[in-house]
Symmetry: C2
Subunit: 261 residues, 2 copies
Amino acid sequence: MDELLQNPCRLFESRHFCDKYDIAKSSLSEDIRLINEILKDNGSGRIESIQGVGGGIRYIPGISAGRIRDLQAEMIEALSDTTRMLGGKYLYTSDIMFDGHICAEIARIFAQRFHSLGADYVVTVETKGMGIASHTAYMLGLPLVVIRREARYSEGSTVSINYFSGTDEHIQKMSIAKRAVRPGSKAIVIDDFMRGGGSLKGIQDILGEFDVETVGIGVALESRLPEKKKVSNYTSVLIIDEIDEDNKVISIRANEELYTN
Amino acid sequence: MDELLQNPCRLFESRHFCDKYDIAKSSLSEDIRLINEILKDNGSGRIESIQGVGGGIRYIPGISAGRIRDLQAEMIEALSDTTRMLGGKYLYTSDIMFDGHICAEIARIFAQRFHSLGADYVVTVETKGMGIASHTAYMLGLPLVVIRREARYSEGSTVSINYFSGTDEHIQKMSIAKRAVRPGSKAIVIDDFMRGGGSLKGIQDILGEFDVETVGIGVALESRLPEKKKVSNYTSVLIIDEIDEDNKVISIRANEELYTN
C-alpha cells in the first residue's frame, strides 16, 4: 500500500491493489483499517474509501494539531535568530523556505485545508515559494504552474501583467505561459510571504485573464501590517508582528486558527 | 513507522519508536522486517539499521528498475508531443518539470544514486529545475540551496559570477547568498536540462568560490549534442537525440545506464 501513500489524493480502483498483491477484497479492507491506524498515530491523514461505480480508495494527507505546533515552534526558533535581519525590515528566510522537512509539513497543512475545493492547479510565482508550492502540488496530486517574473522563450506564448508590489514599492511584472492553464479552471495559490498582498493580487489577476478562479491562498509567513490586505480568505502558518531593528527583536507568532478552526 | 518513511535519510534512535509506540526492541525489528517487505514489493528503497553507539534506523529511498522504466516511458510519451516545439530546438517542458509525481520519482532516482556521497546540500539554479531539486533535497534529507539569476536584497550579501550559456548563446549571471553554504562542504547539483553543460559548469564554479565541492550532478533531460560537455560524471534520466522541426519529429530515449549500472 506504499504506492497509495506515495500518490496522495490519487484515486485507485480497489482492484488495483487486489490484483497487484493477489489479495481478497476483505483483506484489503483490513489492510486499510490498519494503515488508517498508523496514519492516525502519526497524525498524517487518512485513507478515504469511495463506494460504487467510479469509486475506489485514496490517501488524503493531513497533519495533526500537535505536528503543526511542533512545526511552528521549529520555524519561530529559526526565524527569531537576529542575524537574519537584513535591514529595511527584511529577513533572510531562504534556508527555511527551502528546507525539505518544513516544505513537506507546510504542504500537509495546505493539502488538509484545500483538498476538497476541486482545484485543478497549484500556482506560485518564482522563486522563494517554489519549495512549498512544489510539495503542496505533490500532496494534492495537482499540476504546479509557475508564474515567471520575465517571459522566457522556453515558455512559448505568454500573457504578462504589471502590478504594484508594496514590499518592493515599485511596479513588477509577471508572466504566464498560455498553455499552462485551461480557461474555466480553479487554482490554489501558494507563496512564501505576504505583506500587503500585492503579489498575490497580481497572481489572482493574471489567472483571471485566463478565467481561472483562485479558490484558496496559502502563505508560510504573513506580516501583521498593513492590516488591510489586497486579498482575503488566505491561510498563513506564522504571523510576523514586528521586526524591531533598533532593539534587535523579531516578534513572530503561530497562527492558531490552523488548529482551532 | 510512518514518521520514519516521511523523513528520508534521517537517522532515528531505535528508542524513539520504542518509546513513542510503547513496543519492545524485538517487535521493532519485526516491524522493520515487515516494512522492508512492503518497500521491496513497491521498489521504494529500504530501512537501514546501524548498530552500536550513534546508531539507529533510517529510511533510504529507492526506486526499482521497473518504476524507472515506467517513469521514462511516461515522460517520453509526454515530451514527444510535437505541439511542444517552440522553434530553435526549444521544447515546452515546464508542465513536466513541475509535475509532482514525475518530480518525486526522479528525486528517488537521484537519492538512490547519491545518498552515500556524504553531501551537505542539494543545489540548483532557478527556475525550472526547482521542482525536481526540491523533492531530491527532501528525499536526501538535505537543505536545498537555490542560486539566483539576479542578486536579490532578501538574499543578504551575495557572490556573483558570469558564465557562458551555450543554450542561450550569451553571457549569463548567477548569484548565491554568502550565508547559504559553508566552506569545505559537498554538494549534489540538480537541474532540469543540460545541453553543453555551461550552466552546470557555472554552478560548479560559483560553489568552488566557497570551496564547496560538487560530488554529483543529476539532470532530467540531456541533449546528446554537443557530445563534448563542460562537466563530467553526471546522471540524466532521458537523452534527446534530435529535434527535427522540418519533419516534426522529437527523438528521445531512456538513459538505460540507470538500471544496468
